[in-house]
C-alpha cells in the first residue's frame, strides 16, 4: 500500500497559485523525513512540470504517490499536446509566450531539467487532446 497519495488541481487562472502543488508536496516530503537531496530533486522536477502544465497545458492535475521505494507523480492536462517530443526535450527549444518569459520561464530548460532530476520521465502526448507526464524518483 502506498505511504501517501494525493491529487492536486493545477489552476492556470490564478498566478498566485503557480507552484502551490509543488510547495505543498515538498512540505509533505519533509514531514515524512525523506532525505533532503531527494526532496530537492523531487520539488524541482515537480515544479518544472507544474509550470509546464500551466503554461502549455492550461492547467490540469498532478497525482502524487509515495511508495516504499519510489515517488511517482503523474501530470495530466488537456492542452494542445506536444507535436514533437524529441524536439521539446532539446535544451533551448521553447514555444513559450512573451508573458511566460516575463515570469522568468520559457527558456527551453524545463524538460531537460526534469530529466536531470528524476529516475524516469515518461511523456505521452496526443496533439489536440493533451499531455500526460509521469516522473518517478527512486528512494
Amino acid at each position: 500500500m502506498a505511504l501517501f497519495t494525493k491529487k492536486y488541481i493545477i489552476d492556470a487562472d490564478n498566478s498566485l497559485s503557480y507552484g502551490q502543488a509543488s510547495s505543498n508536496f515538498k512540505k509533505v516530503l519533509k514531514l515524512l523525513g525523506i532525505a533532503p537531496p531527494i526532496i530537492k530533486r523531487t520539488a524541482i522536477a515537480m515544479y518544472e512540470a507544474e509550470i509546464n502544465t500551466i503554461i502549455h497545458g492550461g492547467g490540469g492535475t498532478a497525482q502524487v504517490v509515495i511508495e516504499d521505494d519510489h515517488i511517482k507523480i503523474m501530470f495530466e492536462d488537456h492542452g494542445p499536446g506536444i507535436a514533437d517530443i524529441e524536439q521539446a526535450m532539446q535544451v533551448g527549444y521553447s514555444t513559450a509566450s512573451h508573458k511566460v518569459r516575463e515570469m522568468g520561464f520559457g527558456a527551453g530548460l524545463g524538460l531537460p531539467n526534469i530529466q536531470k532530476n528524476v529516475s524516469e520521465l515518461k511523456i505521452d502526448s496526443t496533439p489536440g487532446k493533451g499531455t500526460k507526464v509521469t516522473i518517478r524518483i527512486a528512494l
Binding site: L16, Y18, S23, K40, Y47, G104, F105, A107, L109
Partner: protein, 114 residues
C-alpha cells in the same frame, strides 16, 4: 557572510522574513531567469534578481534559497511579501543594479556558484 553585512554593503532594506535566522551565507547567484535558478544544486544561497513577481518567491522556496536580494530598486509586491513571510524567506530590496550588487558582494568574499 551574515545578512546584516549583505544589507550594509548593498544599501538594502529588509522587507520580508524579518524574524528569520538565515545564518551564514557563503554563495550567491544572480539571475532574472528562474529556469536557470532551478538548475542549481546548491542550497543556502543568496539569489540576486531583478525579477519582481511571485514566481521569484516560489522558485526561491523550491530551490532552497536562503535569501533574495531584489536589485535595481525593484519593489516587492504585497503578494510577494505575504508569500515570503509564509514560507520564511528573507527578501531584501537594494537600489543597486544587479551588476553593482553582485560586484560589491563578490569583492567582499561572497562566492559564485560557478
Amino acid at each position: 557572510m551574515r545578512l546584516n553585512e549583505i544589507i550594509q554593503l548593498t544599501n538594502a532594506r529588509i522587507v520580508a522574513g524579518h524574524n528569520m535566522d538565515v545564518g551564514e551565507i557563503s554563495v550567491a547567484y544572480s539571475s532574472d531567469l528562474m529556469s536557470d535558478v532551478l538548475t542549481l544544486d546548491t542550497d543556502q544561497l543568496l539569489l540576486i534578481s531583478g525579477l519582481a513577481n511571485v514566481q521569484l518567491i516560489r522558485t526561491a522556496e523550491i530551490a532552497d534559497v536562503a535569501a533574495v536580494l531584489l536589485a535595481r530598486g525593484k519593489k516587492t509586491s504585497p503578494e510577494m511579501i505575504d508569500m515570503a513571510d509564509k514560507i520564511g524567506l528573507v527578501i531584501l530590496e537594494s537600489p543597486f543594479s544587479l551588476f553593482r550588487a553582485s560586484g560589491v558582494l563578490f569583492a567582499h568574499g561572497l562566492y559564485p556558484i560557478y
